[in-house]
Each structure stands twice: as structure tokens, then as C-alpha cells.
């Protein structure tokens, strides 16, 4: 199997770049591209203490696998891909998503990794609730999902 997709509950293992890179490595692969998303301390001018990620996990994992299959169709069946998204509350600096793509050459690895994050951002059933330093919390405004069929 050359795809790994996962929604991981915070409180268990934390998301880990080394694990992702190790998964996408293979003797024929010369390039690995990795992306991590991290909770930052400021959003739209408000000081952030942490973010809660709400995830409809079975549908999210189904979607991740579909997006990976699309990437393999575009950039090669031999692409190795890793997707893991956190579920739960993270403090500033916490890793919300780890993506990696491994391939013989770097063009495909970069393109696939970028494709994964852009598609996951727009298509995944994931919601962010920001917790501010002033004690307030707010669900981040998003955009509507598309239904197919």
C-alpha cells in the first residue's frame, strides 16, 4: 500500500514529520516533499492561544484517500503519499496536519504535496475553533462543501 491516511485523536501520538518521511521513502525515490500545518499565535489580528479541530473522521479519511488517488492519477502510481490530520485541541506550535509525497523526481513530489493540501483545505469535513488569549472562542468562518451525485 503506498497511501496512508489518518485522522489522529490528540492525546495519543502526536503528528510527526519523521514518520511521514519514512513512510514515503522507497529505494526508487529520490525526492520527498513534506508540508506541516502549525497553530500560530495570531489570526486576523487576534492573539490565539490554541485551536480545536473538529473532524468527521470517517468521511475525512475517505476524502483523503480519494485526493491521494487523484494525485497518483496525475503524477504517477508510484507516488507514495502520507496524510495525517489532528483531531482535538492544540496549543500554539502544535501540528495540525502532516503531508508527505515521495517520488523518483522532485517535480512530482512538490506538485503532489501542494495538491494534497489545497484539496484537503477545501474538501475535508474539518472545522476550526480558535481560542483567543482574551478568553473568547470562535468557530472560523469557512466555505460550503460540494455534494456530488
Amino acid at each position: 500500500m503506498n497511501i496512508h491516511v489518518e485522522v489522529r485523536e490528540i492525546g495519543g501520538l502526536t503528528l510527526d514529520a519523521a514518520e511521514a518521511l519514512s513512510f514515503v521513502d522507497a529505494p526508487g525515490n529520490g525526492a520527498g516533499s513534506l508540508f506541516i500545518g502549525v497553530v500560530r499565535d495570531l489570526n486576523q489580528g487576534r492573539k490565539v492561544r490554541g485551536v480545536s479541530y473538529d473532524v468527521f473522521a470517517p468521511l475525512a479519511e475517505q476524502g483523503f484517500a480519494e485526493i491521494c488517488a487523484e494525485a497518483q492519477e496525475k503524477w504517477g502510481d508510484n507516488l507514495r503519499l502520507f496524510v495525517a490530520h489532528a483531531k482535538g485541541r492544540l496549543d500554539v506550535g502544535g501540528i495540525s496536519i502532516v503531508l508527505a509525497a515521495g517520488s523518483p523526481h522532485r517535480g512530482e513530489a512538490f506538485a503532489a504535496c501542494r495538491y494534497l493540501i489545497e484539496e484537503i483545505k477545501t474538501r475535508s469535513p474539518i472545522w476550526k475553533q480558535e481560542h483567543y488569549v482574551d478568553g473568547d472562542s470562535e468557530w472560523v468562518k469557512g466555505h460550503a462543501l460540494c455534494s456530488h451525485g
Binding site: G37, F56, P125, K128, H143
Partner: protein, 81 residues
Amino acid sequence: MQVNVQMFGEFRVLGDCLELTLPENSTVLDLREFIQNQVGEFELTELLKLSKFADEKAVLTDTSLCKNNQILAILPPVSGG
């Protein structure tokens, strides 16, 4: 028939899930209107218009038929990743 509708994002204010009893042969649109009538708050009814329903495999269209004991989810606009 019974359906279990899981709440996500802002809909969490209604609880983690709603156990609803619907007429036989209800569609997702019927479910949507059922919830719309139960939720009094203006902001949530507006949000509901922008939201989709899904099962564990796919986002559903409003014409999809609901099944007895089905687990559904209400998906407000997403902001994740």
C-alpha cells in the same frame, strides 16, 4: 424511522448528535426542513442553508433518501487543514 444526526462545528451548540424520528421515505431535504423548524435561532438557520448532510462515505444531495437507523452528519462550511 430513526436517524442519528451528528453535529459538527457551530452546530455543536445543539449537542453532539440529534436522534430524530422522520416519516418513511424522507429525503435529506425533508431532514433539512425538519431541523430547520426545530432550530429557532436565526444564525443557525442561516448557517443550515449553507450546510450539507453526509453519511460516512460521501456528501449527500438533498434528493437522497434517508435510511432507518442511518448515521448522518451535518456539515457546516469547512475551515480545516
